[in-house]
């Protein structure tokens, strides 16, 4: 059976050149970068080269890159590190409602620690209005954090504008760019940001390597205390093979970015065009300002996990934001916050394309997906429309 991976937003396969670059650092070049003899120095050199390539991908300086173990760690670090470093100036943070859990749950944690957080809404396309950010600023505001691009709905936010507002008001700004770096051009200077999170496995690098960009001169409190690694800002022996992999992946992403964008965008547009012809299906997120390989929908009258499983049975792997497909059994807060009714949000399905996706894959998908939808609609009691469900709320205990 065909295997068609359309869940690149979950993770990417490793680029073969990245694997080759990493391999020696698992065995022959095993030194600790802190050691002063030769194996240590070799590891140190590799680490610093990786830092340079990683920085270059986002137009940053090497010393502005702090390696972390995940995008979630970088997001936790940004929020907690800035909040604690600046709490004498004020205790107010601004984030959007469509942030990743690693931002939202950290913001909730900080609320319990005595910080106040404003959660900004997004419009029906998932766009956060920069003027809403401006209006939310108070004398107490010390940090603004808005996602660069949403992994769930693909929308790309106006970070440059939000960044300009932050700059003018003298407030530190962070963006979670995990879904965007390596997939669209990202430049920390044109985005006007002070901090930015990104992860290697979103651009054909390994899992376990990510980074937080911290603009020179920005004070941040560490998340992990210990030795002097990462300039004392993130202790712990460095994951050298993974970081070397991130550096290589960054180098390739920078070199091939436009080619990669053109490849996924052409195929993605075909997928959207074809899928949009199906009755009662809606593209979620912004129709134009979205990640180039990203297509997300809500399909009415059926449920996402059922779609996902039937697609998987046909060899197509994708994601859903429905309640039943999440371990927490809650429909995607992002979909609900952009005004998708909760019964419709159950029909969420997300397809993300990558460099291995082919024309034939999309053709096969375009033939298969409508069959799966009609099969599930034949089973559904709502095949003829929603009846009396619009105003109810879920009170069931699961």
């Amino acid at each position: 059976m065909k295997k068609i991976y359309l869940d690149y937003v979950a993770t990417n396969p490793l680029h073969p050149e990245v694997l080759d670059a990493m391999l020696p650092y698992f065995n022959e070049l095993y030194g600790n970068p802190l050691s002063i003899y030769e194996p240590g120095m070799k590891a140190r050199t590799a680490l610093e080269q990786a830092r340079e390539s990683t920085a270059s991908l986002i137009n940053a300086k090497s010393k502005e890159i702090i390696f972390t173990a995940s995008g979630a760690e970088a997001n936790n670090f940004a929020l907690k590190g800035i909040a604690y470093a600046n709490q004498s100036k004020g205790k107010h943070l601004i984030v959007s409602k469509i942030e990743h859990h690693s931002i939202l749950n950290t913001a909730r944690f900080l609320e319990k620690q005595g910080f106040a957080v404003t959660y900004l809404p997004a419009d029906k396309n998932g766009t956060v209005n920069p003027s809403d950010v401006e209006k939310a600023v108070t004398k107490e505001t010390i940090l603004i954090s808005v996602i660069h691009a949403s992994p769930e709905i693909g929308t790309i936010e106006s970070i440059a504008e939000i960044g300009a507002i932050a700059k003018q008001k003298g407030i530190i700004i962070h963006t979670d760019a995990v879904a965007s770096v390596g997939n669209i051009p990202v430049d920390v200077n044109s985005l006007n940001v002070d901090l930015l999170s990104f992860a290697a496995h979103q651009f054909y690098g390994p899992k376990g390597a990510a980074a937080l960009y911290v603009r020179e001169g920005t004070r941040i409190v560490p998340l992990i205390y210990g030795g002097i690694q990462e300039g004392g800002r993130r202790a712990g022996t460095e994951n050298v093979p993974a970081i070397v992999g991130m550096g290589k992946a960054a180098e390739l992403a920078k070199r091939d970015l436009q080619k990669r964008i053109d490849h996924v965008k052409a195929l993605r547009d075909k997928l959207i065009e074809n899928t949009s012809r199906i009755d009662k299906i809606l593209l979620t997120g912004h129709p134009q300002l979205r990640l180039p390989g990203h297509a997300s929908f809500v399909v009415e009258y059926i449920e996402g996990e059922a779609m996902l499983l039937l697609l998987a049975a046909k060899g197509i792997y994708c994601a859903s934001g429905s309640a039943c497909s999440s371990k927490a059994l809650k429909a995607s807060p992002v979909l609900l916050s952009i005004g998708v009714p909760s019964h419709v949000a159950q029909g969420s399905v997300v397809f993300t394309l990558g460099q291995e996706t082919t024309e034939e894959d999309i053709q096969y998908f375009n033939e298969t997906f409508p069959q799966i939808i009609s099969r599930l609609r034949q089973i559904s009691p709502y095949a003829k429309g929603w009846e009396g469900t619009e105003d109810s709320t879920c009170t069931a205990k699961k």
Binding site: I302, E303, E305, C324, Q346, I379, P381, S392, A396
Partner: protein, 123 residues
């Protein structure tokens, strides 16, 4: 995550569809929560002679609906009322803990259909 039996009943569900001349109909669940089951039964001499379902929901919800209608067919109403979420889940070789509520819905929808039949008979 699912047993082979769940996958079998999900990918090849038995007894799908509306039953226009049903003797009893039971609906349980809420689309806002992600699952709704509608069960139709045909009854003769206190025995369920046929059962059908329509379900909006995940793989487990569809498999449970298929299984509960299969189990109910041929049972007396009293026997069918003994079907529990546990016996349904057992018949499917188990369900993941977070999907046990689907099993609950299936048993409840069937019991409601029986109740509906009895109410109609009482008239």
């Amino acid at each position: 995550m699912y047993s082979e039996k769940v996958m079998d009943h999900f990918t090849n569900p038995r007894n799908v569809g509306e039953m226009p001349d049903a003797d009893g109909i039971g609906t349980e669940g809420n689309p806002v929560c992600g699952d709704v089951m509608k069960i139709y039964i045909k009854v003769k001499d206190d025995k369920i002679t046929d059962a059908k379902f329509q379900t909006f929901g995940c793989g487990a919800a569809i498999a449970v609906s298929s299984m509960v209608t299969e189990m109910a067919k041929g049972m007396t109403l009293e026997e069918a009322l003994q079907i529990t979420k546990q016996s349904l889940a057992n018949a499917l070789d188990g369900l993941p803990p977070q999907k046990m509520h689907c099993s609950n819905l299936g048993a409840d929808a069937l019991h409601k259909a029986i109740e509906d039949y009895r109410t109609k008979q009482g008239k």
